[in-house]
Structure formats: C-alpha cells, structure tokens
C-alpha cells in the first residue's frame, strides 16, 4: 500500500466535519444540476403520459418484438441496484472492511436504482392503469394473479428487494442521522431528529442495531442473488431461442454485480472530486472494485462465449439462427458494442496501475455501463426478432418516446442522488469511524 499517499483523517470529529460538509448549503452549480435533471425528468414524464393516453403506439414496439427499450432499461436498473446490497451485505458478511467507505453511496444507488427499475414494468405495460390486476389483493371479482407467471415472481422479487434495501439503507443511516441531528443547525435538524428515531448511541441500542444489521445482511445476501435470477427467469422460463438457457441466472447475477460496481464508480468519482473526499474514497477502494470488475467481467465474458458455444454445440437450428442473427444480423452493432465494452474494455484492469488510476477507472466504468445496457438490449431484441416462425420475423427500432423515457430515467437517478447528497451523509460516518478506531487500536498494539 505504499503507493497510496492520500491524506488520512486525523480525528473522528474531522470525519464528521469532512463528511457532513457535503450537507452544507448548496452551490449554484449544484442547484443548476438538480434543475437540469429535474427538467429532463419532466420531459420524460410528459412522454410517458403521452404514451399512456395513446397506448403503446408511440413506442417502436411491434410484432414480434414486444419488449424493447423499457424492459432493457428495467433489467439495467435492476442490475445497477445490485452493487449496493452486494457491497453492504455480502462484503459485510465476508468482513471486507474496505467496503465501509463506499457502501453508503452504493446502498443509496441501490435504493434509487430499484425504485426506477420498479417503475419500468409499469411504463412498459399496455394498460398501466390496470396494473393492480397483477397484485394479489382480495377483490369483489374473486380474481387473483397467476403465481406461475415469472412476471408475478418478478413483481414480488423486485418489491421485496426494494423494501429490504430501503430498510437496510435506513437502518444503516439511523446513527448518521443522529450525528447530523447533533451537528446541523438549520431547518434540517428537525428532519434529522425525526429520522434518527431517538438514536442516542447507547450500548443497548448498538447491541440490537448490530444484530439487525447482521441479520439484514444475512437475508439480503440470498435475496440479492435471487432477484436477478428471478429477472433472468423472465427470459429463461420462456421458450424464445436465445432466452431459454440455464446459464441465465448466474450470468445475469454476475452481469448485475458488474454493472452495479461500474455505476458506483461512475457516480462516486465525481462526488469524491467535488467534495474532496479523497481521504475516504481511497485508491485501495478503487483497486478492490477493479478486481471485482475483473472477476465479473470474466464471468460475463465466459457466459457470452458459452451462449454461442451452446448454440453451436446443441445443433438446435433455432438457437443457431438466433445467435447468428445476434452476431451478424440486422442489429449486429449492438452485439459488438456489448462485447467490446463488457469484455474488452476491462482488460487493462489486470494492471494495478489502471486499477488505482481513478480517471481510468471512471472511463472504464462508463464503458461498462453502456455495454451492460446493450447486453440486455441485445438479448431481448435479437431474441424476439428471430424466433421460430420465419414468416413472423421482424425488426424493432426504438422510438423517440422510448428513448426520452430512457434518458429521463438516468436524469431521475441523478436527481435523486443529488438530493440525497444534501440530505444524508454520503459516506457511512459510523462505519468509517469504526475503521478509524480499529486502525488506531491496531497502531496502539504495535
């Protein structure tokens, strides 16, 4: 670790100061940024309302490609949502201490991403005003949803994931809200007082809190693996060539972690720069995240190869045609964007210099985000374009409305994240402090 020469916080109080500084009154640039994003969200909302009024006509969806940008974006955001829980739960269980600095940012991303992801199936359905037909609630008609449908599994998985990550996120925030309550002096004090739920940091509270965090981590770990598996079963349980494969669940989970970590980097690098958090988001964090990216990129790359291999080796003509179309058909560009971004662009991270170079990591992460969106696009669109019946083959071109909603989803994500930056500590105070005390006591021993 000799290469790391960044500043180190001197006292826990400085940690409070450094991190809670982010909560100080905003700069005009920040306000402009929020307004810009909010405007984009508004435009997206108009596009959505337009589509709701007219039906799915304004989209590019058609027979036989009935799923397009919306479902792609849904899967993309669900994938993004995986990083937070992975970092906070799985790495927590593995006692990977480096996670402490990034986990708050990652968890907030999880919550925002899963909120956005949960919106997309609704944006996507033909009659959004009838979405409650999917929900099992007692009704006078005596009708229930179809629990055999992967879409209902999805409904449960996504909502469970959303609720559990919000709870996890909130439980982690309680001590930090208390810290903010004790420090902030403006109107937000009242907000923090409510949100801190009377937290005093007494040992009795810490006792229950620690146990809660442990259990939530334990519950979240299988959950996070299940959610993207269930999303992958939306595809894998169908009989569309190119979708109907057993590899989908691990492939999707790895892809989700891959894209999630990339999104964490994409978002935290500017925050680190803007708020001077170099002492907390340290190069070793990027180094570790780079290693995770390498691992998941390899899994994803293996899955790509395996899909083609199985299509060839199974001698299933439908699969063969589907994958030929994927690689060399009408939408070949998407496929090659996906492969170059997801498999080729992370390759330099085998070198430590690249992993510890924040700018390099940032650029790579953006490539990965693009690549992972295209991965889902390729799977959905090319699979549906060339199915069993040659007479029903067709093409799909996304429409302006769909792309507007796609852009608006990114804007909404940014809006929420920017607002969050001002409302809650972006780095988990108590966890960083925990690290500080640990480091201090270790120093004392030696």
């Amino acid at each position: 670790m000799a290469a790391i020469t960044e500043p180190v916080p001197q006292t826990p109080d400085q940690i409070n100061d450094d991190i809670l500084r982010v909560l100080e009154p905003p700069t005009p640039l920040y306000v402009l940024g929020v307004l810009f994003c909010a405007t984009l969200v508004g435009i997206g909302l108009v596009a959505f309302l337009y589509q709701t009024y007219w039906g799915m006509g304004p989209t590019g969806l058609t027979h036989p490609v009935m799923w397009g940008v919306y479902i792609t974006t849904f899967v993309f955001w669900v994938g993004i949502a995986h990083a937070g829980t992975l970092i906070s739960a799985i790495l927590y269980l593995f006692r990977a201490k480096w996670r402490n600095a990034v986990n708050r940012g990652a968890e907030s991303m999880t919550v925002f991403a899963v909120l956005i992801a949960a919106m997309f199936p609704l944006i996507h359905i033909g009659r959004v005003y009838k979405f409650y037909f999917m929900v099992p609630y007692p009704n006078q008609r005596g009708l229930w949803p179809n629990f055999k449908s992967p879409l209902v599994w999805d409904l449960f998985a996504i909502n469970t994931y959303m609720l559990v990550s919000i709870m996890f996120f909130f439980v982690g925030l309680i001590p930090d809200f208390a810290a903010a309550r004790d420090r902030v002096r403006d109107w937000r004090r009242h907000l923090y007082r409510v949100l801190a739920l009377g937290w005093r940091g007494s040992s009795e509270q810490w006792r229950h809190w620690s146990r809660t965090v442990l259990h939530l981590s334990g519950l979240s770990t299988p959950l996070v693996l299940s959610v993207h598996s269930v999303v992958s079963w939306d595809f894998a349980t169908s009989l569309v060539p190119g979708w109907h494969t057993t590899i989908f669940a691990p492939y999707f989970v790895a892809g989700a972690i891959f894209s999630g970590i990339a999104m964490v980097i994409t978002v935290l690098v500017p925050v680190r720069k803007a708020f001077g958090l170099e002492a907390y988001l340290r190069k070793e964090h990027f180094d570790n995240m780079g290693k995770l990216i390498l691992l998941t990129s390899s899994i994803v790359g293996y899955a790509y190869g395996m899909e083609y291999f199985m299509a060839w080796y199974s001698a299933n003509p439908y699969e063969q045609m589907s994958f030929w179309f994927r690689g060399f058909g009408y939408h070949w560009t998407s496929t090659w964007i996906m492969i170059s971004c997801n498999v080729l662009s992370p390759l330099p991270l085998w070198f430590k210099w690249c992993r510890t170079n924040v700018a390099w990591m940032w650029v790579t992460s953006i490539f990965i985000n693009i690549g992972m969106w295209f991965e889902r696009y390729v799977i959905i669109m090319t699979g549906l374009s060339h199915e069993y019946d040659p007479a029903a083959w067709g093409y799909y071109v996304p429409s302006v409305v769909e792309l507007t909603v796609l852009v608006a989803s990114f804007a909404l994500f940014l809006t929420m994240f920017l607002v969050f930056l001002r409302l809650a500590p972006v780095i988990a105070l108590q966890e960083v402090k925990e690290l500080w005390y640990e480091a201090r006591s270790q120093k004392g021993h030696h």
Partner: protein, 997 residues
C-alpha cells in the same frame, strides 16, 4: 372495453345516434332507443339471414347475409346457391365495407368550377339534381350515352327502356376491364359462336392454364376455386401454368413454364400439335397448321425445351379429362384472339370439348363491350356526337386511361353525370353526381350464367341520401313525357319474376336456377386458317417486358376503398397498401436495383414512379405491376378530419396507365402484354410494406409436403415405424445429419393426445385441421375473420412496422426445386389453442388460460398488456392493440361491427378465439334442446368462408367428428410440436405431384 359501446348499437336499431351520452357530473347517461314498430322477424340479439347476390364482380355469386337489428354484419356464401355453395371469396367477404364506407357520397353533388381553375363538388338537393339531369337530357335528346358495368336481367332491360324513351336507344356500353373479348372472338374463330362456355375445372385431371388467373378474377373465380379444390382432393389432379408470373393461380399448380413473354401462343399450339400427334385427333382442317408447330420447332423461340413440352403433351394425351384454360389478361397481347384460339384448339384435340369444356350453360357476358367500343365512344365524345354521358358502375378514368375518356369529359363538351355511390376517378370529373345505392341497399337481379337467375334485395335502409339509378332514369324519362313502366324497382322485379308468390320463393332461395343442357359445337370453317405467329413486343428488347396483371383483392381498383382489403397481404408478394414493381432478383441485380428502390417505369403509354420489389415468383426479364392501386384517396374533395392520416394518401400506382392503347385487331381487346418498359432507378429508398420478410422456412417444418409417390407409404402420426415426413426419432444418424444441416426435424417429439386437453367432464375439445394441399392462399379466411371478429384496420404507417391485427395469416413458403416444379406452400397460421400453451403460464393477470373445453381463452378486459404472451408464443399468433384502433372507426363503419364480439381497447392483447361467440351460440341452441353440440353445427368463420374446404373445425372428443377423422390421416402433422405445446390445430401436408426420380 369501455371506449366504444357496442351494446348500445344493439338497442338502437335503425338509429345512428345511440350512444348519445350526455355527460352528467358522474356517469354518462345511456339511452335505450326502442323500435317505433318492431319488425316481426327481428328478435334483438338474434341474427337474421337473408339471401342476396354479391355484385362486386361480374361473377355475381349468391350470398347469405347475416343481419343483426337491421344491419348486415357478415356476408357468406349461400349454401343453397348454385356457385358459392356456402363459401365466399376474399372480395365478397369484405364487400359490405363498400356500403359502410364513410366517404361515400352523402347525397347528390354538382361540379363547380372556381375562378382560380380549381374544381369542387358542392352538395345539392335531389330536386336540383334531378332538374339538372332532366334539363341536360332534354337539351341533348338523342345524344345521351349510358356507360355502365356488367349488367344483365331486369335492371339491364329497364335501362334499355329508359334509354329508348330518351330517344337514345342502344347508345350504351357495358364496360368491364376484364371483358373476355379475346375468348369470345376465339370461340367464333374456332367454334363459330361467341359464347363463353363453362370450363369444368372440377372434372379436369390435367389442367393447363395459359396465364389464366382462374383463382383471382377470371370468369367466376369462386366457382373456379371450389371446383379446383374438388379436382385436387387427396392428391388428385395435375395443373400446369404457362405464363410470366407465378401468381396466386400459378402458385397452386404443379408445374410452371415461363416462355419468352409474347410467345405463350406457341406453347399452346405446339402442345396442341403434340397432343394431336399422340392421340391422332387432329381434325383435317387443322392438320397443316398443327404440323407446322411442333415442340421442337417452337423450342428456341419460347425458350422451353422440346422434351419438356413433349412430356406435358404426353400427360395431356394420357389424361382422361384434360382442360386448357384460355389466356388471362396478363398475357393478352395484340394476338389475343389467336392465342385464345390456339388454346381452344388444344381443347379440341385433347378431347376436352363436350367433356370439360361445355357450351350451353354459358357465362352470360354476351353484351359486354369490347375495349375498342370504349375507344370509339371517346372518339364520339370528342366529335360532339355525345351530349350527355351517364356513367354508372364504371370507372374508365381509372381502368381505361388510354382511350382518353377523362380528357373528353374534361374538355367540357359532354355533360357527364356520375351515378357512383362512392368517389372515384370518373365521378371526380363529372358535372353532376347522383349517387346510387350500393348493391346491399338496393333491389336488382342478375343472370351470371345462363339458367342461373339471382335476386338481389336490400339488406339495410340506405345509409345516405342516395337513389336507385334505374328508378331515377325512369323518373327522368317520365318527366320528359316518355312512357315507361310504372312502379318502383321492387314492383318491376316482382312482375318480371312472375308475381308475388314466385318472387317471394325466389327471394327466400336467393334466385332460381335450373340446368341448361349442353349444346354441341363443331369446328368452324376458318379455324385452319388462323395465323399463330406471335407478334413482336414494342420497345427495346433489352428492357424488361412489362406485365400488368389484375389484383386479387382489389379487382380492377373498384375495391381500393375497402381499407381492410388493402391491409390483407397480397397472396403472392405479401405486400399491403400499394403496388410494387415486381422483378426477379437476377433481373434486379442486372439493373442495379434493390428492394425499396424507387424506379421510374415508362412505356409509350405513360410513366410511373414505383417501388421495386424483387422476388422469385416471376420470370427473369419481366417487370410486373398489379392494377387496382393508385386510386383516388378516400376523401374526394373535402378531407374529413380525424380519420387517421392515411385517408388522404394514394397508395401504389395506377398500372393501367402504363399499358399502351394497342388493340388486338380480331377481338378489339386491349393488348395488356405489348411492350418492354424502360426502367430508371432513382436511387431513392421507399418503404416496402410487407407482412413477411422471407419466404424461406429454413427447414423448420412449418409447411410440409410429401411427394405423391411417397403418399401411400406415409404412416399416420404415432404409428409403428412412422417415418415418411414425420419425426425421425431414434435415428441418431439422421439426427446428426439433420443437425448439421440446420434441420429442425431431429428434435425429439413427445406423443400426446390432443383430445385430452380439456376438462374431464367436458364433452368438447375444440380442434381444427388445415389441409395445406387444398389451401390456395386466397385470403378469404382472413377476410371472414376480419368481419366476424371486428378486427381493426391499422393503416399503412402501422402495418409497415408490423402491427397488423389479423388473427390469422397465411404464411407463404417457397421451396427451391429443380426443373420448374412449383412448390409454394401456404400455411395458414392462427392460434393453435395449445394444450400446454406457453402463453398462458407467463401472463401475470390470468388474462389467458385453458378453458374446460380446450380453448386457449384470451380475456382482453383482464389484460394489462405486458405482452409476454406474444413473446412466448412460438406461433406468433397473438396481436397487440398498440393504439385504440376502433376509436378511429367513423360512422357508419362502426355499424358493421359484430355485436357478438367485444371491441378491444388500446393496450390489450387479442388473438384467435376459435370464434367462441359461435361456439357459445351453438351451445345455447343445444342446451335448449338438452343435447350436446353436433358435429358441423358450429363453424368458425374461416372454415365457413374457405372455398377450398381446407379448414375443418370440430370437436376432438367426438371420435366420429370430421376433424377427429382428418387428424388421423397420414398427411397430418403439427407445427413445432417438438416444443411440446400440444397444439389443437393439425395440418395436412401438401402433396407434390411430381414423379420422384
């Protein structure tokens, strides 16, 4: 679906403003408008059926119309009728939409020439219109000319009487673009009679068609198709097509000869010669001319090998009932009559005359005008010999632009009165428009074939302010002081049909018909002197030959206003909404043309800009364009708002204007095939609106075929040692070989019993079987489905990206074969009502499930539109409502909706229901009689319409039902059954009638 309230129509009988909903603060107030006087035979909610006659084309088939509360909603063949036998063609199925067309003339109009040179039509009252008509008739006494369509029977006689009363007796033309002039002249040349005989396709075991579109427009296409399927039942029959294009008729034959365009006549006469030589049947008078043309002597000029012609001649000579069909319009050149004569000589020497070619019960076309007559009329008009031109049921401005009638009208010398009920090219020029009722609104009679007299009765009160033209002419004559028969048309008809009781009996039956005995004909004296040398085509011989051919769905353009017909894919090209320049891919490469390039095609007749569409069903060196397109937009002068944007666009081009006005001197027919066309590629790309992007089925076993010789050894599905054509289980060698060839057939298939896929106690498991050998791909099923199930027209912009809503489609697959064997397979594809349906398990809302009767039920009102079911349907049988299509259905087109079927809103999925409304209706009846539904009692719309009897529908639980039996025959197979979807629809393989090597 709340948007359109079908049920309100139900209650509002005869009134249009039913759902007049006043919006109160909470819920709209719905009104019930009862009858003022309820007709006795009408029970609201129960359909009433009437027999009448379809008058779209001169074939005039007897039809049975289903009416609900006074509105006709569905047309089907009259089961008792002489021609239709309960079936109907694609045009007839949608013919009602001509009546419900909202852009029809709402009342009389007159032309106003504005100061700026523009022309508009303004509405006038009937009094004013009649005054204008009477004044012009008075001023032009003796110079009145009536240009009508094909017309026979009482109305025909009444028009003659009215003309006589106006002092213009005989100044009349009955004009049809397909008028069989060549055939009539050929019969005169060969047999000495101008009659158009019966061609008994159903009895022919070898059929040779010379560019004859006998399944599309030729003579009586519906009857042709029915008898064609009779001839080919169970692998029987053999058909050969000679012509430049593998059209719908050609695609259903077994062998296709494409001689050099213009030399088809040589093929005909050489075949006659070869057959005569083999059978020794050459009449003395013809010996010389037959000896001149042998297979060898024409081989070079036609490009057809002598051996091939000899093989065909051998087949004809050995046939017990051969038949050659005279040329259709697409190969009708300046030698049309002589070409037809050559075909008739082939019929003479092959022994068809008197057997499959029967004179006596002739087609009643005798009075039909020759094209030449129309040219003469134009001359007369220019010469001032015609003062008033009355145009009724004819559109020469569209279908005969060469003769210059439009110019003559536009010159202002002739006062033109149009009786068109909807805007067309000719009425656009007319000085006065006095709209007629449509055929379903008016009385009439017709005699399409000698001995077959059909009655036509109104099915609904006229929707708009229109008047029957015959009555109107008689009125005008009466006003001018002439003596004409008294009484309205109905009374005239009653008198002509022999009084009330026989009239009523005929009305109930649909008409009266009796057999007319055959008459014998002999060879005419001059038959030996006919010159069979082909005439040269005009233009540069390096350019492609222009072939213009009739439209299967739009006929000559008279149906172009029926949007549903525009949206049904053409059976050959699978294109919709427009016409395309069809060329062979080889020719396209030679010309540097790709799919979608806009070409400028010009001849001495004219020039059009048209989009290129290369495909293989056409001879290289030919460019083919369909007629019937490029008609005036539906909104003539006044664009209507809110009708969607396609209301004002023109689709395709009018290919008639490319035909130079050359005539066949013998018959006076227009020479359709007379020139090469120059083709210029503008390099502009245009959209090609097509339903199918490939005709290659990639060996996926959708359309399967079995060679005739292999048919006897074919084992039924599931039988021991089942091999031929079915799955080849347990044969690893084959599996491996097939796998490497990308053949799907090696995939394992699990056996199952489709009848098991229903509730244990249910007496029914509905199922279907489709005979691909019988299916011609004519689209009648789709048209029937559209009218039965309220399937919306989505318009070209949506269709272009694939959003057509048809619940069934006919997949066309072309197999590459050696020689010139035709292997085009038509696979009607619809919901397979799978026993283990992939669509059901993915629906989150339970909007689709398997009913106890084995139906795959779709409940659109429960659908939330996740569209997963459509993704997961391997047959792609599900259709999604991207827009609220039925919001755009204007008055009175909404009256054509079937009240038994819901109108689907936006955002929901829909699909074939096996006409569950009909199943439920049959169960209502059965339940009242305390029994189960009998076999054949419930008929789905597609099966009912199918003129080829290709579709069998029924109860699989009943082992005696027709569908259960047909499923077990060896040709039966199921599509994609290795996916284990347990489909309820089985297909019968088409039969390749080839000699296997």
């Amino acid at each position: 679906m709340p948007e359109i309230d079908r049920r309100d129509f139900l209650k509002i009988v005869g009134m249009t403003a039913g759902a007049a909903a006043t919006v109160a603060c909470k819920e709209p107030i719905h009104h019930i408008i009862p009858y003022l006087n309820q007709p006795e035979e009408v029970v609201p909610g129960i359909a009433t059926y009437y027999n009448t006659t379809c008058r779209i084309c001169p074939a005039a088939c007897s039809v049975r119309v289903k009416t609900r509360e006074g509105r006709p909603i569905k047309v089907d063949g009259n089961p008792d009728g002489p021609l239709a036998r309960g079936h109907l063609c694609v045009r007839g199925e949608l013919g009602l939409m001509r009546t419900y067309d909202h852009t029809r003339f709402k009342g009389p109009m007159k032309r106003v020439d504005n100061a700026d040179g523009s022309v508009a039509h303004v509405p006038v009252t009937w009094e004013e219109g009649m005054t204008l008509l009477v004044e012009s008739l008075r001023a032009n006494a003796g110079k009145v000319f009536f240009l009508g369509g094909h017309q026979t029977g009482t109305c025909d006689a009444l028009i003659d009487q009215a003309l006589a009363a106006l002092g213009s007796a005989g100044q009349r033309l009955r004009f049809e673009p397909y008028a069989y002039e060549a055939l009539r002249s050929a019969d005169e040349l060969v047999f000495g009679t101008r009659a158009v005989p019966q061609f008994k396709i159903g009895e022919a075991d070898v059929l040779v068609a010379f560019g004859t579109d006998f399944l599309e427009t030729w003579l009586s296409p519906l009857a042709n198709q029915i008898s064609f399927s009779d001839a080919r039942r169970d692998g029987g029959g053999y058909a050969i097509f000679v012509g430049p294009r593998l059209g719908l008729s050609a695609a259903n034959t077994d062998q296709w000869l494409a001689p050099t365009p213009g030399t088809e006549v040589l093929v005909a006469i050489a075949l006659a010669s070869e057959v005569a030589r083999r059978k020794g049947t050459a009449p003395d008078a013809l010996r010389a001319v037959l000896a001149k043309y042998t297979a060898a002597s024409v081989a070079e000029r036609t490009g057809i090998a002598a051996a091939q012609l000899e093989k065909i001649a051998e087949r004809i000579a050995n046939a017990s009932a051969p038949l050659a069909l005279p040329p259709g319009v697409e190969v009708q050149g300046t030698n049309a009559a002589r070409f037809a004569a050559a075909v008739q000589i082939l019929n003479v020497v092959s022994g068809a005359v008197g057997k499959t070619l029967v004179f006596g019960p002739d087609h009643n076309l005798g009075e039909l005008a020759r094209f030449q007559d129309l040219s003469e009329l134009a001359g007369k008009m220019r010469g001032g010999e015609v003062g008033v031109l009355l145009v009724h049921d004819a559109n020469p401005a569209l279908t005969a632009p060469q003769v210059g009638i439009a110019d003559a009208i536009a010159s202002g010398k002739v006062f033109t009165v149009s009786f068109a009920s909807a805007p067309d090219e000719t009425s656009k020029l007319a000085n006065l428009i006095l709209p007629d009722h449509t055929a379903y609104e008016s009385w009439g009679d017709v005699e399409p074939v000698l001995g077959v007299k059909l009655l036509q009765q109104p099915m609904l009160r006229p929707l708009f302010d229109t008047r029957a033209t015959v009555e109107l002419l008689l009125d005008a004559a009466r006003t001018l002081g002439a003596t004409v028969p008294e009484g309205n048309l109905r009374e005239q008809l009653r008198a002509a049909w022999g009084g009330q009781s026989s009239f009523d009996a005929a009305l109930a039956r649909g008409g009266s018909w009796q057999n007319v005995g055959a008459t014998s004909v002999g060879l005419a004296a001059g038959a030996g002197a006919i010159d069979f040398e082909p005439t040269a085509l005009a233009g540069n011989s390096a350019d492609p030959v222009l072939v213009v051919y009739p439209s299967h769905q739009l006929y000559d353009g008279r149906l172009a206003r029926v949007q549903a017909l525009q949206e049904i894919p053409d059976p050959v090209t699978k294109t919709m909404w427009g016409s395309y320049a069809e060329i062979h891919p080889e020719t396209a490469t030679a010309l540097g043309v790709e799919l979608g390039d806009v070409l400028v095609v010009s001849t001495e007749g004219g020039e059009v800009e048209i989009t290129a569409y290369p495909h293989t069903a056409i001879r290289p060196g030919v460019i083919a364009i369909q007629v019937g397109h490029g008609t005036v937009p539906r909104d003539l002068d006044a664009p209507l708002s809110g009708q969607g944007t396609w209301g004002r666009e023109v689709f395709g081009v009018n290919a008639f204007q490319l035909i130079p006005g050359k005539l066949d001197p013998e018959s006076g027919a227009l020479a359709w095939l007379s020139t090469h066309a120059t083709v210029k590629n503008t390099k502009v790309r245009a959209n090609v609106i097509r339903a199918q992007i490939t005709f290659d089925q990639e060996d996926r076993g959708f359309g399967k075929a079995v060679a005739l010789s292999a048919l006897p050894s074919l084992k039924p599905w599931g039988a021991e040692g089942d091999e031929g054509g079915h799955e080849k289980k347990g044969d690893p060698e084959h599996a491996a070989a097939a796998a490497w060839q990308g053949d799907a057939e090696h995939l394992l298939i699990k056996q199952y019993d489709p009848a098991a896929d229903a509730g244990e106690t249910s007496p029914y498991r509905w199922g279907m079987s489709i005979d691909q050998d019988a299916c011609t791909g004519c689209n009648a099923c789709i048209a029937a489905c559209i009218t039965e199930n309220n399937i919306p027209v989505v318009g070209p912009t949506n269709v272009r990206i694939g959003r057509e809503m048809h619940w069934m489609r006919i997949e066309r697959y072309v197999e590459v074969t050696d020689e010139n064997e035709v292997d085009v397979r038509h696979t009607p594809m619809l919901c397979q009502h799978c026993g283990a349906a992939p669509c059901e398990s993915v629906c989150p809302a339970l909007a689709t499930y398997h009913s106890m009767e084995g139906l795959n039920v779709m409940v659109p009102n429960r659908c939330i539109g996740t569209r997963f079911c459509a993704n997961n349907c391997p047959y792609k049988a599900r259709r999604f409502n991207h827009w609220s299509y039925n919001w755009y259905v204007p008055e009175p087109e909404n009256l054509s909706l079937n009240p038994d079927v819901m109108v689907r809103a936006k955002g929901v999925m829909e699909k074939c229901t096996f006409c569950v409304q009909r199943i439920n209706g049959a169960k209502d009846v059965a339940k009242r009689e305390n029994r189960i539904v009998r076999d054949g009692e419930v008929q789905v719309a597609c099966a009912e319409a199918c003129p080829s009897h290709a579709i069998t529908f029924g109860n699989l639980r009943d082992p005696e039902s027709a569908v259960s039996k047909v499923r077990t025959i060896p040709r039966a197979y199921r599509i994609l059954e290795h996916l284990y979807t347990r489909p309820a629809v089985s297909y019968l393989m088409s039969v390749r009638r080839v000699e296997e090597a």
